[in-house]
């Protein structure tokens, strides 16, 4: 009982700290404010601080070009401290107190789910830059990361077709993104004729570090004479001990390749990459992409962060696309008013960093190319497969019961979860 009290006090302290940080940012009135909602402390700080810096860079760049609608942009940075309820509070603060025109933020799905009711109630705009499990489409949220059909499904297709994989290990951290993604993948694999006993599903807690027997199980599962691959939705931190154990138990990428959805350049920069060489990752962007837009972006980033060794990654690109789309939509609408921007942004096109042009779709997802890359010793990826064109993001998976009949279209249907069978919009009730 006493512990609970202590926890409360600590929580209050955290909130107080956050408030003081936020109050610094209230400044001149004749600017357009942009909220940056990324954790700068706590577990997720490892991934999210980079995105905060990316946003500051993009805003600075836009101001150099003369701002937006004749006004300067002003970043309002808040720290939700990897604390999911705090994400909601900070969102409320950004929308009511700072009156920001748009928010760029969140990483984990649970933080997005926490922000969702607030952003809908106060009619704000959120750009969410991370690959996620889908099964959501809100009028107030724009999903610039990959939906499952833009990452997981093409990766599995690659393994199935190019590497002739017959047996599958779906390994993930125990939370909503891996669970939903694996549910979709399992349904997809079964639909492709993979037998149930050829699929092994395994969940581990956040930050799991003792992988000995799981890797040993994977090895055994892979020794049945059929080509085996691991589809990993293991979250950031737990990956290092996982790959290390794979390396130590001599599971090489040639024998049992691991394709990961959460391991990017940023994560690799904190890992001794030797045991990972040859394992795969699926993203919509790699730093190693060879084109002028990407080269310029990397150069700008390194100069901004004042560190020539820093890397770029997929969620950064998602913010780059999302921010440029928002800028174009505001220019098109001539105002930052949420209702007008939400309507104006559909169909807006912005260049991505893989040499193509991404487009905002009526379901608030964007079109992206899907790249499969092999990890190289320098922590970069060698692209081994790329989809022919851009893949449009699908909010509701076609492989899940209850989700395959749903459709999202905020232009024609004005609905995020329209059931094509019953011809009804489920509305907020479904979420």
């Amino acid at each position: 009982m006493k512990l609970k009290k202590i926890a409360k006090h600590v929580g209050a302290l955290g909130i107080a700290c956050g408030l003081t940080i936020a109050s610094f940012s209230a400044a001149a009135a004749d600017t357009i404010k942009v909220g940056v909602l990324h954790s700068l402390s706590g577990t997720m700080a490892i991934s999210e601080t980079t995105l905060k810096d990316t946003m500051l860079m993009l805003i600075e760049e836009q101001n150099k070009k003369g701002g937006l609608l004749g006004k300067k942009l002003e970043a309002v940075v808040v720290d939700p401290a990897s604390n999911w309820p705090l994400f909601a509070e900070k969102t409320r603060e950004l929308l009511t107190k700072d009156k920001v025109a748009a928010i760029f933020g969140c990483w984990t799905s649970v933080s997005r789910k926490s922000v969702l009711p607030v952003i809908e109630e106060l009619n704000g705009v959120l750009f969410y830059p991370v690959q996620y499990e889908g099964e959501e489409s809100s009028r107030n949220v724009f999903y610039t990361g990959a939906a499952p059909n833009q990452q997981a499904i093409p990766a599995v297709d690659y393994l199935m077709k190019e590497m002739k994989v017959k047996r599958w290990v779906l390994a993930g951290t125990d939370y909503v993104y891996p669970r939903t993604t694996n549910k979709i993948l399992e349904a997809y694999l079964m639909a492709k004729g993979v037998a149930k006993e050829d699929i092994m599903i395994n969940y581990t807690p956040f930050g799991h570090s003792d992988w000995q027997n799981i890797v040993s199980d994977i090895k055994r599962f892979g020794s049945a004479g059929k080509k085996t691959a691991v589809v990993s939705t293991i979250n950031g931190d737990a990956n290092v001990p996982f790959y290390r154990e794979l390396g130590n138990q001599k599971v090489t990428a040639e024998d049992i390749p691991v394709v990961a959805f959460s391991v990017g350049e940023e994560e690799l920069s904190g890992i001794d990459t030797k045991p990972l060489v040859g394992h795969l990752a699926a993203w919509n962007y790699f730093m190693s992409e060879d084109n002028t837009a990407n080269a310029a972006f990397i150069k700008q980033w390194k100069a901004f962060i004042k560190n020539p060794k820093r890397v770029t990654n997929d969620p950064m690109e998602a913010h780059y696309i999302g921010f440029n789309m928002w800028v174009k939509a505001v220019e098109k609408a001539g105002t930052t008013d949420t209702d007008k921007v939400v309507d104006a942004i559909i169909g807006v096109e912005a260049p991505n960093l893989t040499g193509g042009i991404s487009k905002m779709l009526p379901n608030h997802h964007i079109t992206k190319p899907v790249l499969i890359g092999e990890i190289q010793e320098d922590g970069q990826f060698l692209t081994v497969s790329q989809t022919d064109g851009l893949v449009p993001g699908d909010a509701w998976s076609d492989y899940l019961e209850g989700s395959k009949d749903l459709e999202s279209d905020w232009i024609k249907l004005k609905c995020g979860n329209y059931n094509t069978k019953t011809k009804k919009c489920l509305g907020a009730a479904a979420q």
């Binding site: 799981i214 020794s223 931190d237 890992i271």
Partner: protein, 563 residues
């Protein structure tokens, strides 16, 4: 007569041990040898000894190997593999391991990077100056190509003069699938093969091929030979025969062979699981043992214990940054360094905060929790919130292969041994030294200890410093297993308290038994319950156990337990 295959596993171990002795010798012996010779870690083979016979075909192939599309280059590698040139194996091994560098041009310089980071021209064998090497880029390869190269390499290595390399080559061929060409190659080799193990492996490969034979007797003989082999390809092949063979007798024999293999595997699996449990236990032991001192002996609830481990892990990283060329020895420096740094931080915490709060556990808990947050944020500010990459020294990576189904990873093995060493060292300190005597005296009866002239506050600081220093050492071990980042400590703090409470507060032996017990229980529950549920179950079991025996496995007895 005993079946040769049954000895396969045991021989392999002996061979590996023997080999580790032979390695330096074999490198010296290379000069005399005219055939191509490469070891698995082959980048150190020096093509420098080669007489510079410039064959135009060799040159063009090596250069073509580094340019153009991957499938084209894979073809080139195959052609190169057929050339009888002793430089070939070195080049292909370098390419396979990502040690081959080249320029981007139609007539590139191709270089191999050896273990010490020197660039050596792959064709002429001359050293390339560092500034000239700047334009060289690593030749990219992908998995498909790596696999193909592995096969090419296996064929080349079949004539290696090192028996272990030959054995690897044969096993690799078995794993990649045997066909008539390979069997012919292997049988050719068997005629001249001096090494028993390699001959046995070749026999197995031939038997594996014979399983597909159309004659019943040939298949039966093959099954006899393969009985007892633990190699997974053998199992797969036997399973295929046992389920699908047209002949009933063959089917039956295959099933028998398979059953006996499965029995052996089950026994090895049990051994493996026990080792996994002990290994997890040793990690728990390392992280809990410092706490056993500060919490167990002194009674201080130190929530910053995890952060002291984090400090130890960061010290390892700093040591590796300071001596980037001596990764192999970095742990030897990091262990005392981490002990001192974490110990000093511990003493500072004790002198600065905890000594004012003795006898007030709730306030100590809060204050140390605050310290843990401060230390975490300090790590974020100093080292950045990103994890730092601590390299695994060569001798810590890889695994001890006992047989195809049982192998023990070196890092876990060393950490197990290290955990026990630290435990016994601490035991000696507490039982045999003057400091230990004073520590025990103060913890048992503070007033009496002071009365006989023990400086109680000095002993407090030293004890806390000792406990913290050991947490630092645990951090060094953890840096070899998991992420080095600001959150490292949080992951272990709960487990550490669990172990100390389970084992019995104030009893080091209890901590040992508690850690190993929890480790083994956890690993035996995991296969049935999954990693998440296993943790929950262990916690529930622990709570029930504490209900029954509130003072842990080894409760303190006598006057020490008076409070």
């Amino acid at each position: 007569m005993r079946n040769p295959m049954q000895l396969f596993g045991r021989w392999q171990v002996q061979l590996i041990l023997l080999l580790s002795l032979c390695c330096p010798v074999s490198i010296f012996a290379q000069d005399a040898d005219t055939t191509a010779s490469t070891t698995e870690a082959a980048s150190d083979t020096t093509p420098a000894e080669t007489p510079a016979v410039t064959e135009p075909e060799f040159d063009t192939l090596v250069k073509a190997l580094t340019q153009g599309s991957l499938p084209k280059r894979a073809q080139t590698a195959k052609k190169l593999g057929k050339l009888e040139d002793h430089r070939v194996a070195g080049i292909i091994a370098a390419l396979q391991q990502g040690n081959l560098y080249a320029e981007k041009s139609s007539d590139p310089i191709v270089a191999i990077v050896d273990n010490s980071g020197n660039y050596v021209d792959a064709i002429s064998g001359e050293k390339i100056a560092a500034d000239a090497a700047e334009s060289l880029k690593r030749v990219p390869i992908n998995n498909t190509m790596r696999t193909q190269l592995r096969t090419v390499l296996a064929a080349l290595n079949l004539n290696d003069k090192n028996a272990a390399v030959r054995l690897d080559a044969v096993n690799r061929m078995i794993a990649d699938g045997v066909d008539d060409d390979i069997i012919a190659l292997l049988q050719e080799r068997q005629k001249t093969e001096p090494d028993d193990d390699v001959r046995t492996a070749i026999t197995a490969a031939v038997a594996l091929m014979n399983l597909q034979s159309s004659e019943q007797q040939v298949r039966l003989d093959a099954i006899q030979i393969l009985r007892g082999s633990l190699q997974q390809e053998v199992r797969t092949a036997l399973l295929e025969i046992a389920t699908n063979d047209a002949d009933v007798k063959v089917k039956q024999q295959a099933q028998f062979a398979l059953d006996s293999i499965e029995d052996r595997i089950a026994a090895f699996r049990l051994t493996e699981n026990i080792f996994f449990g002990l290994s997890l236990g040793s990690v728990l032991l390392l992280s809990a043992i410092g706490l056993a001192i500060t919490f167990g002996v002194m009674g201080v609830i130190n929530m910053a214990h995890g952060e002291l481990m984090m400090i130890g892990a960061y010290v390892t990283w700093v040591v590796q940054q300071v001596f980037p060329n001596h990764i192999a020895y970095s742990l030897m420096i990091a262990i005392p360094a981490a002990f001192i740094v974490a110990g000093l931080v511990g003493i500072a915490i004790e002198r600065g905060v905890i000594r004012f709060l003795y006898g007030r556990p709730l306030e100590t808990l809060l204050a140390t929790f605050g310290i843990s947050l401060i230390l975490q944020q300090a790590a974020r500010s100093i080292f950045s919130p990103l994890n730092r990459a601590v390299e695994l020294p060569e001798w810590m990576s890889g695994s001890l292969v006992i047989n195809p189904v049982l192998s023990i990873t070196y890092n876990r093995l060393y950490i197990f041994i290290f955990g026990l060493l630290v435990f016994f060292a601490l035991l000696v300190i507490l039982k045999k030294t003057s400091l230990g005597l004073k520590v025990r005296a103060v913890s048992q009866n503070r007033a009496m200890a002071r009365a006989v002239g023990v400086r109680a506050s000095w002993v407090d600081a030293m004890t806390f410093g000792l406990g913290s220093g050991i947490a630092g050492i645990a951090g060094v071990a953890l840096s070899q297993l998991t992420n080095v980042g600001p959150n490292l400590g949080q992951a272990y703090i709960i487990d550490s308290f669990m172990v100390v409470v389970f084992g019995g507060v104030g009893n080091l032996w209890g901590t040992l038994v508690g850690a190993m017990g929890l480790g083994i229980i956890n690993k035996f529950l995991e296969p049935y319950a999954g990693a998440v549920l296993a943790k929950v179950l262990v916690l529930v079991l622990l709570i029930l156990f504490i209900q029954k025996r509130p003072k842990g496995i080894f409760p303190q007895k006598g006057r020490a337990a008076a409070d």
